[in-house]
Assembly symmetry: D3
Homo-oligomer: 319 residues x 6
């Protein structure tokens, strides 16, 4: 449990505290090796340096792990910097992940209950069997609860994947009621599974990052592999249904340029794609507006990912 957070560090402080190790790199200055670190918690990041025994300290922990630091705060180029004297990996019992990662405002267990409720609404025997295999896999369930919906852009908090998944399912449920040709159970199963590969693609140890799998394989194909392995384990799963379900996962980004290896070719796939986009963008806009609409600001900063400013709206009347 932390007492001192990054945002509260002031020059002169002596610090004995836990941080997540975000980056580490051996560098050299004037012929002398030193270790440059990036440390963080849920309130921010601070640069760290180690001048004594940099190589030894480098080997104490991997990036992504929580470490216990002893050192003091100085300034370098008018920015706070941590001079680190000692560093060791934290023990499991010393860590409270919520000190490091932002977390859904909603309770994870109740979100997961809602997820299971959607599962139980699926009538198709094989799809229901598949979904039950997924939630019988405790490592998947644990992953589902702790993985964010995205790294930066939308639902970037523990529980975000669950929240996003449920909202996409909700929009799909609405669409299934509006368009007669839609196979509702297929669409809902696709909605529940569409981002399941993010469990392998993101790490959510001390901060959100891509895993090697996230970069080398990508969350879309990771999700396809998870589903493929479960389907392999179900005797007699209809091959046509398997292809259509995989197609939902593989095509949900909608275009090749957005890393889907195939484009939506079924009515369920095209609906899932827009449901996914609508929820992701609506959440991202919501997050930006909430964060940036401080008094007197009417437009967001430039949003690089979508190349535009976002209108924050007029100030409320009663201010």
């Amino acid at each position: 449990m932390k007492n001192l957070f990054v945002k509260d560090l002031k020059p002169g402080n002596e610090v004995t505290e836990f941080f997540v190790l975000r980056k580490k790199e051996i560098k050299e200055y004037d012929g002398q090796k030193f270790l440059k670190l990036e440390l963080g918690d849920k309130t921010g990041r601070i640069e760290g340096v180690v001048w004594d025994n940099p190589e030894h300290i480098h080997d104490q922990a991997h990036t992504g792990e929580i470490v216990k630091i002893k050192g003091w705060v100085t300034t370098y180029k008018e920015t706070p910097q941590l001079k680190v004297e000692k560093l060791r990996k934290a023990k499991e019992k010393e860590i409270d992940l919520s000190d490091f990662l932002p977390t859904s405002e909603r309770d994870l267990d109740s979100l997961y209950e809602e997820f299971k409720k959607v599962v139980s609404s699926v009538k198709n025997r094989e799809l229901r069997k598949l979904l039950e295999l997924l939630i019988a896999d405790s490592s998947l369930v644990e992953g589902l609860k702790k993985t964010p919906g995205g790294k930066l852009w939308h639902h970037a908090y523990v529980g975000g994947l669950l929240e996003h998944t449920l909202k996409v399912a909700q929009i799909c449920e609405k669409a299934a009621s509006m368009y007669e040709l839609v196979n509702r159970d297929l669409l809902i199963t696709g909605a529940l599974a569409h981002d399941i590969g993010k469990i392998s693609a993101y790490s959510a140890r001390g901060f959100f990052d891509y895993t090697d799998e996230g970069r080398l394989v990508g969350h879309i194909v990771s999700g396809d592999e998870i589903i493929d392995r479960k389907i392999q384990a179900i005797e007699g799963f209809p091959s046509d249904l398997a292809l259509q379900l995989k197609h939902l996962i593989l095509s949900h980004q909608g275009q090749l340029e957005f890393a889907s290896p195939v484009v939506p070719q079924t009515i369920e796939a095209i609906i899932l794609h827009y449901a996914d986009e609508m929820d992701a963008k609506a959440d991202a806009f919501t997050h930006i507006i909430k964060t940036q609409k401080s008094r007197g600001k009417r437009w967001s900063d430039w949003v690089h990912l979508i190349n535009r400013y976002i209108y924050l709206g007029e100030e409320e009347e009663n201010e």
Copy 2:
């Protein structure tokens, strides 16, 4: 009222019948002028030629108008062709537009009742006033009823614009209930108005075509002009609200490349865009699947507009 339709014309037939004049062009063959026509009704198209008095007959009607033809069916390059002897413009009372244009399966009046019901759900005073001005304008209401949702691709039938508008509003209603920051009345008004410019951009006389305004100005800006003129007529319409509403219309195609002069910059605009896309694509997929899923065909023909085949699914019945 027609008796004989294009799909039933056979070589040798003598024909005295109404058709819509889709194209006309004076051409020359071996030093002699003739008039080449394209005639049609809701069942198809047939080429026509006029060898006598081509220039006189050319001036009898404009393209898009219904004409009465006297002639007979021959073949040219093994394709039926109408040799036209006489041609005159049809009189208003001779015409039943439903012989020429496909029409919604739903009743236009009941669709419009539904539209008015959505209007009456808007509580915001100025938006409500604006919507009431729109439905008080009988030429707009008439346009709303007869305009298709698109020329080729989705909702391409009389009443299509109304159907599409209502479905988009329905998805937006759902989204308004899901995302806390959404201004529901603004979003619903945007949904109702987003394609209103199609009334000026499409002609739906004897066949669906772009008007000059549809090509030179475009349905997006035409819609903005309609709304701007109504807003000018409302004393004290808040300028911020006006900008946001126009923004919904102008940005609803989502990207500059799709002819929106601005990209969505408000949460309502981003939701409206995806609601519009979802309904347009779901309808287009539905139409393709219904039309092409004949026995033994499992994939659609290549769909040029979206560069893909669409999966029609397994045959159902007795397999």
Copy 3:
């Protein structure tokens, strides 16, 4: 009238002076709120901070307004910073806008006389009537005089819109004499009106910025609305002429990607587009060459907007 300009501020100076308020944002440091400002005049920008009563001072003025400041200059991260003690909105009579905004080297009134001369060269009755309505609208005329041709890239100074408009008209006049099918009066009217929407899209109070309308509607559609309203006021304006004129405004950026909702479809539109491009780029190149060709520099810095370096040319012999 200013005495002290941003480029002359030195650490230690006590300052009681007018600046334009470019940005303001309430922030927090170590549990204490403060107000971060960006202040400027025509010579540059400086960061400002307010530690006492930040929220009260925040409410004294909007961004874009001229304010009177009392404070002193310090340095932060080796960059000058203004510690602000007092801030109030400037009174109209205290302000000389030319202290804040760069201005055309040419006299605004003589530019406007030239504009009116071009207006009077238009013979077509309706177009002439329309142009006369525009110049009878004093707020439009005022806007025309003070609006820049662009925010950053070309003609970025008071009077720039007038200068750009006149040059585009000059090129169009030449083209009208070269290509027989061109409707000269239509083309010239389009040239005069093509950027008129910038009057609503840019604010030129204390610095150049986009207005809400500039972002949510865009200068192209704003221009179309201005013309549409004037045309509505002219009885019997031919609808075909109206469409063609609007088409000139709407298509002048030449491509959908550049925010034109329609592409040029008439010979006048294609000419206007290239005339506009030629003048905008020639002015931008001129500005970059003049500004950067200091002794010993033969190439400009990288120009992000067009992704290239610009060749400044050899040094003159006699230097």
Copy 4:
């Protein structure tokens, strides 16, 4: 075994012969249903029609199957057409696939021997184990032998996949000898496996076509699934090695737009991508030049897939 090939069919011929059924579709003409077929063999295609019992005959075979036809040749629009009286599915023993599909000029078994030789050159224990699992899977080996390298563009013949795979491995072998950091066994394994998903993505029954899996999942992900399943079956396969091998398969098209869900991020991946491109394009150019360089033609027809003409070269001297 066929006697009469499509290219030799002449109007008036009575025909009792085997063809592959490429397409079938129930249509209607003048109120009467008929069945429209596309029939083919390795020399070409011909349209077929069935007027009697079209629905019954429709159900005799699936597209892609070889059928025995009784009918006669007529002409329709000056093009030969087969009027079909009888149609039944061919029996396995009646079929010689080489009548229908183009085949490698090289012997399939000797190509496969060469493939096994490359397998045996891999020293890394796990990769070797994996490759041996692949060639122990008889359905994979059969697929490997009969699948083309591409549907239209390169190596479009039985054995083409083997030929292409071996050439890519050959270029990779060269590259491994040139670039010191390359993991040779990993690169060669990637070369051997990169297109293995084509076995599931193409059908090579009576003509080359995409399977449902080829369209809904795509050959890249199908290949990844095949490898993933084999890796799951190998105890202790290093996860890092697995990720890198999958990465080779997934990234080999080089860009997202070309349906790779990830771009090459390792030195082996970037080399495999260019080796694949070089062989595919060199084969396609070779095929076009060989096919089109008839006397007097110095340039190919327009090649749509790559938007260019190909230079066929000067005529040989001795002509």
Copy 5:
């Protein structure tokens, strides 16, 4: 001199006449070789076939040459076709190129006089010297006179290159008077030389086509080579001036995608680019409007090269 033109050929005609040989290809039908030709003149094209001695006749002429044909007109698929019995290459004195190629409405010699007048307006010694070398080269001058401005799209007639060049120079002259930094002589020389490579890139023997050089090198680099060789022949041509002039030629298409290997980096280059675009597009629009504005047509056919319809305008009142 021709008596009978393609547009006047009627089935049954016996024909002994000159045509340009546009294409030739040996084909096979039913085991028998035949020669398929495309023949043409300035009024159109017709297919030809040779059944006797196809290989011998094939060798009588190259594509692009004028041939004398003996044969008769039949129909094939309801389209006229020439059965060719005899074919020989035309003699130089038998040919009048104006029977085959469309020609400028203006006199070639007077166009060339105008070109020389512009040359003589250039004061800069080296540029003037260079231009004089160009016009001293009789094969270049001959090429300049007979080459079209483009193959299909603009100025597609003998003399078109000269006309286009002069109009571009005219616009550049205007721009030079408007923008102070422009080096007028450099810009005018660039305008005169910008398309000179088309002389090598197009053949204008019996019909307009690309030469091998036009395809393998391209008109832009061919033009650069012509200028480079002339500059090599001028002692002491300033290297900086040479680079800037070449830059004008190389960058005049404005963007890499349009085959310019460099983008415009000087003020002269950016102006030349837009002058070139404006004249090319204005001519293309003029051509389309003139050709297609027949009575009753208000919009052009779809123009593939620029993906749009062109508005032809209202019919004149008095027709």
Copy 6:
């Protein structure tokens, strides 16, 4: 010969040393002119300032030249800065270029011997003659030895052009043995010549930079001009061979967007393109991996030029 390198400069040092002058610009601070410099050597860069006689010192040397500096090291914004008192151009004999530019690990002369060996493997008489003219041109040979393969991205060291050229030739040799239609001598000559224009396009005086020719003409066309001039000097060089060779140079970047004015249209051209790409990318990946794979780093920094991270692989040693 240098004693003190940039990476060893420490605040307080008095410095009398040679550096390359990378940039120079006259600026103004508080009404006083000063000269801002960028100085460098092969170990790094440092900012320099001159307060006394800035304009005089500005004129002592051009950018790209080696200068001798007298001054002392201070810090500005916590970064070292050189206050320069004296500056003069270095004399030829004082300079050892290897102090300034990174150099191939291989011996330049032995690389060049290898190059000549490839030349001597070319049997075709004219191509051999052409290559011999190239290596008989001592300024070309000198350029070949000292020019880098690229400015930043691959082979960015003296000798890099030679190394890259040889590796591309090696891959082409392999391809020539694999694809029967390839003209080996033409392909090898193209490989040797493909980047020869970089000799004119890059300067390698004290640091690597583009020359004016590199920017205004580009290395592709510069290479074409070099080859064109040599071919002009060879009597009877076959024009078809000349076109094909130029085509290899002009098309080797593969796509218009990458500054090739023509796309590959021959089998040799398509192979050369991929050989070039493979070697350039393999070298770039190698360089990044070698430079960045320090202990504990498993992924490279973001590589802007290709928009991705590169996987550096697992640590080796004690695993």
